[in-house]
Symmetry: C2
């Protein structure tokens, strides 16, 4: 038996989302049909609205509804530190630690030769432009500790260091609450290499 | 740090969906923002469209985009059997076995005193109306094998049997490919009680 067309289309659209298989899409679709008209239309509208009003900050590349973004235009933040991250989600993660008070630069991707993504496909050139004639004294590279993230970090360091700006990388090591016994060797090696005096 | 408003709203709407927590909602929201305008609007439109064009069949209570639904108006189906199920999803499940060729009646719920849901909150009265002056010879009760499903089945049987219509219940037992060792006692008991001659 085939689903009625509008339902089949809804299931199809939902199953395109990441982590949503056919079964989940069916469950979500039936749930949406059981929602009040108001709630369902509000869901649809929130998608259209976000898509229409969210854009990339022309300075840092972060997702924002105003340009420049709230962080770039926040006068209380330090302007001599820029933290380079892969994605807007990483900015959220960094902000959660409530310790970093500098600016950000969002690459919106990572160098990945396997996927054919080079520096020119990222928000990289804008980073160099920002650093010219600026007060930036330190660039903290907070790309993910993956192969691509490391390669991107190396690339950024090689690009920026000659300009005399300090480039740092966030530390690798054991997660707090972690267990030596279950740590992979590379992480443990990095933790030993990065040991600090007590 | 707060999300920009349109993004916060999208995350909020998505996290209202069943099985979607805050983390998943964030991931989905960022994915939606990374989709092409066309794809995102198509997703939003499929929600609005499904909500607008899907309704309950006035005969059987199934979800449909035409009234009566495709099954009720299918002249090739037997009109002397009605299978009573809890939800439109159950109709899909029944149709998948490609064996049942009768009609359906969708209750759109189940009797559940704990949740304050009685027969009058379900598509129950319409079932009685359908059975009057009809050719229906058998009502197959295929509500879920849960406490509520069983109670609903009992209620239906007591309601219909006096009219001289045969009321049957789908069998309980071990799932095909299942394992006696891991079956719960109630299922195993039902399987023994429902044993058939070989």
């Amino acid at each position: 038996m085939q689903y009625p067309k509008p339902l089949a289309r809804l299931i199809g659209e939902l199953s395109k989302l990441p982590g949503i298989g056919t079964k989940s899409a069916q469950r979500l679709a039936f749930h949406i049909l059981s929602m009040s008209d108001e709630d369902a239309l509000s869901l649809a509208d929130s998608i259209t609205d976000a898509k229409k009003n969210m854009r990339f900050c022309s300075i840092c590349g972060n997702l924002t509804d105003s340009d420049p973004c709230a962080i770039c235009s926040d006068k209380t933040r330090r302007r001599d530190q820029i933290c380079v991250v892969e994605s807007p989600q990483d900015v959220i993660a960094m902000e959660k630690i409530r310790e970093y008070n500098g600016l950000y630069h969002v690459l919106n991707g990572v160098i990945s030769p396997m996927d054919g993504i080079g520096p020119e496909d990222l928000n990289m050139r804008q980073l160099i432009v920002r650093l010219q004639n600026s007060d930036v004294k330190e660039v903290i590279v907070a790309t993910n500790p993956t192969m691509e993230g490391e390669a991107t970090a190396m690339y950024i360091a090689r690009l920026i260091k000659p300009a005399g700006i300090r480039v740092t990388r966030i530390a690798h090591g054991l997660p707090v609450g972690g267990d030596l016994e279950y740590a992979d060797e590379v992480t443990l090696l990095k933790a030993v290499e990065g040991r600090v005096d007590m």
